[in-house]
């Protein structure tokens, strides 16, 4: 299992920031984990790294919030959706393939509706201030992102990088 352990919200924000330079249009990041695990915190860092000027807030109520940075950032949150066919109503599939990068909180909510190629981070609260973040991926682009993200995070303060699969592979 590859991934990270962070101590403090700032460390999780820094992880998100480190991912930003690695992405290009069409990339998708699926975030999962309990309430308060830090999905929005991680997205805040990612958005800052993409040079999004405004404050990134939780998209739970709105389901999709769009920000403009170096690339458009489509910040989804599937928490409130009840059926996967509601994804259609928010143009989920069209947006994933659009001109920007997508981050999907509660992105594992509908297993039957996962994107084709993505990087996934599952976040677990291990103590008040610590989070374990396990990476997995689907498709070649997702695997590449997992690999490069792990590489980009060595040396970040309060971040432990666990890279047990340095040869790459579909599921890191």
């Amino acid at each position: 299992m590859s991934g990270f352990e962070t101590t403090g919200a700032d460390a999780t924000v820094a992880l998100g920031r480190a991912l930003a330079p690695l992405v290009r249009a069409g990339d998708g990041l699926v975030l999962s984990g309990d309430l308060g695990a830090g999905k929005t915190q991680l997205t805040k860092g990612f958005a800052a790294g993409l040079e999004v000027p405004e404050v990134v807030t939780s998209p739970t109520f709105n389901i999709l919030l769009v920000h403009q940075g170096r690339l458009p950032l489509y910040h989804f949150d599937l928490y409130r959706l009840e059926h996967s066919d509601q994804l259609e109503d928010v143009d989920y599939w069209g947006t994933l393939e659009a001109d920007g990068v997508s981050v999907v909180e509660w992105g594992d909510r509908f297993p039957e509706a996962m994107p084709l190629d993505y990087l996934a981070a599952h976040m677990t609260i291990t103590a008040d201030e610590t989070r374990e973040i396990v990476l997995s991926s689907q498709g070649t682009r997702g695997a590449e992102l997992a690999r490069t993200w792990l590489g980009a995070c060595t040396g970040l303060a309060d971040v432990v990088v666990r890279n047990s699969d340095s040869h790459g592979g579909d599921t890191a």
């Binding site: 109520f61 389901i63 008040d128």
Partner: protein
């Protein structure tokens, strides 16, 4: 800031030129302004002044039945206060007096805020002049609009009949209002029995909840009001902020009706609508005021110094207040919607039992942060489980609620005092929370500030509040062009 309009004179030209020079890359010369002002007859030039300082100016030329908007500018530091819109309103009124029936102008393609303003006055883009601006070779967007449609739309003062549509997120709603005072109907689609109406689900549109709902909601609203499309004077619609897929349904429908009937289209900001729920419930509520907007998707403090002018003082940096209530209720396994259940349990608990953090309480600004509190509650539950301790749910609910309410109340009171207002409005679904109402009422009363809270049905999303806000826009001649689009992240402050 307060300002008034008066005709431009030669004595204003230095001040006008200074603004012109500061904001336009290829400014007009003093001579050009002097020549324009002296022409008379076919021209109307005016300035907006704050005291004796010029803060904006604009002018039109009327040839035959066509008015050309030649220049319209507002000094950088006087923007977003309605100066541009007020000047435009007055210029277009002069144009009609001078015999114009339509108006046209060119605007830089990159100047989206100006285009937005013109659109609100019923002008739409009809083409471009490529490379029109010599400095950057930028294209000019040509905008055009019918002035008489605006005029024909003025029914007897204050008696206009408006159909308003709201579909910014979960609810689809329609309402009919006369003259901004008489609410003839207000329908929320989730409360209408569609199956009865359609005799089953209509297959093609079954997945498009709003599309299906909007037709029925409008029909029902018109029926309850006892009017038809032909009786209306305007169509109003929420065009942002919200979920794009939901907003476009309302906007497309409203544009369709406007096109089909020739009625003017009035665009309303959803958050503005929430504030106007207060005026709807109590017509004596008027600016200057400060509003606290708390719902599932919003937590913001807004200063409204006068009609049509909004300054967002602060917003949440992460979760909205209603969202925090729902998520904490979920973590406690209380079911949905969590807010009401949680606040009921809280009334049985001790709010001092657990010392949850009051984030941003002493930040000195008006920003809110609720995700830390949400996580503290979750940690509290998790730690108790791990230690085999039982969580006292009423105590936890009461302590959580107090942490939310304390911060809201303290910032609300400070904002009201700092803005020097005597009226405070509560808006949004969380306004239903009894503890928030009580504590806010007490704290404000201590400072002689009155609190307005609309009835619950007007606090959650509805179209009656949109109709109320639309009335004020209608009276000021604020219309959207038929090329208007839904704007998911529409800001309140950009409204002129």
């Amino acid at each position: 800031m307060s300002f008034e309009l008066r005709p431009m004179t030669r004595g204003d030209i230095d001040a006008v030129h200074e603004i012109e020079h500061a904001i336009f890359p290829t400014p007009w010369s003093r001579q050009t302004f002097a020549a324009e002002v002296s022409i008379g007859e076919t021209r109307a030039w005016l300035v907006a002044v704050d005291g004796d300082e010029v803060v904006g100016y604009g002018g039109i030329m009327v040839i035959g039945d066509e008015a050309h908007i030649m220049n319209l500018a507002v000094r950088e530091d006087a923007r977003s206060k309605g100066v541009g819109a007020t000047m435009l309103e007055s210029l277009l009124a002069s144009a009609v007096e001078m015999g114009a029936s339509r108006a046209t102008l060119e605007v830089r393609e990159s100047n989206s805020s100006a285009q937005e303003l013109y659109r609100r006055f019923g002008l739409s883009s009809v083409g471009v002049r490529p490379g029109y601006y010599s400095d950057t070779r930028e294209d000019a967007v040509i905008m055009w609009g019918d002035l008489l449609a605006r005029d024909a739309a003025s029914p007897e003062a204050g008696q206009e009949l408006i159909l308003a549509i709201e579909s910014s997120c979960d609810e689809t709603a329609a309402a009919v209002m006369r003259g901004g005072t008489e609410l003839l109907s207000s329908v929320i689609a989730s409360q209408v029995d569609f199956h009865a109406r359609f005799g089953g689900v209509v297959p093609e549109i079954a997945s498009r909840k709003h599309t299906e709902a909007i037709v029925a909601a409008v029909d029902e609203a018109l029926e309850q009001a006892g009017v038809g499309f032909g009786d209306l004077d305007a169509i109003a619609v929420t065009y942002g902020p919200g979920l794009v897929g939901a907003l476009v349904v309302g906007v497309a429908y409203a544009k369709g009706v406007a096109l089909g009937t020739g009625l003017p289209l009035v665009g309303v900001n959803h958050l503005e609508g929430h504030i106007f729920a207060n005026m709807l419930a109590d017509p004596t509520v008027e600016p200057p005021l400060v509003a606290l907007l708390v719902s599932g998707g919003h937590t913001s403090l807004v200063h409204m110094p006068e009609w049509g002018v909004y300054h967002t003082l602060g917003e949440t940096l992460d979760d909205a207040a209603g969202e925090a209530f729902d998520k904490v209720a979920k973590a406690l396994g209380l079911g949905y919607p969590g807010g009401p259940i949680l606040s009921r349990l809280a009334s049985e608990g001790n709010e001092n039992a657990i010392d949850f953090p009051r984030a941003m309480m002493r930040s000195g600004n008006y920003a809110f942060s609720l995700s830390g509190l949400k996580t503290s509650v979750i940690n509290h539950i998790r730690n108790a489980e791990q230690a085999g301790r039982e969580v006292d749910v009423p105590d936890l609910a009461a302590s959580f609620q107090a942490a939310v309410v304390d911060v809201q109340v303290s910032k609300a009171v400070r904002a009201a005092q700092e803005c020097g207002v005597e009226t405070f409005c509560l808006a949004g679904g969380v306004a239903a929370n009894p503890s928030l109402r009580e504590k806010l009422h007490e704290a404000l009363a201590d400072h002689g500030i009155r609190l307005s809270v609309p009835p619950l049905i007007l606090c959650t999303d509805n179209a009656a509040m949109i109709a109320q806000a639309a009335h004020f826009r209608f009276m000021r001649g604020g219309f959207l062009g038929l090329d208007a689009e839904a704007i998911p992240n529409l800001r309140l402050d950009s409204e002129a």
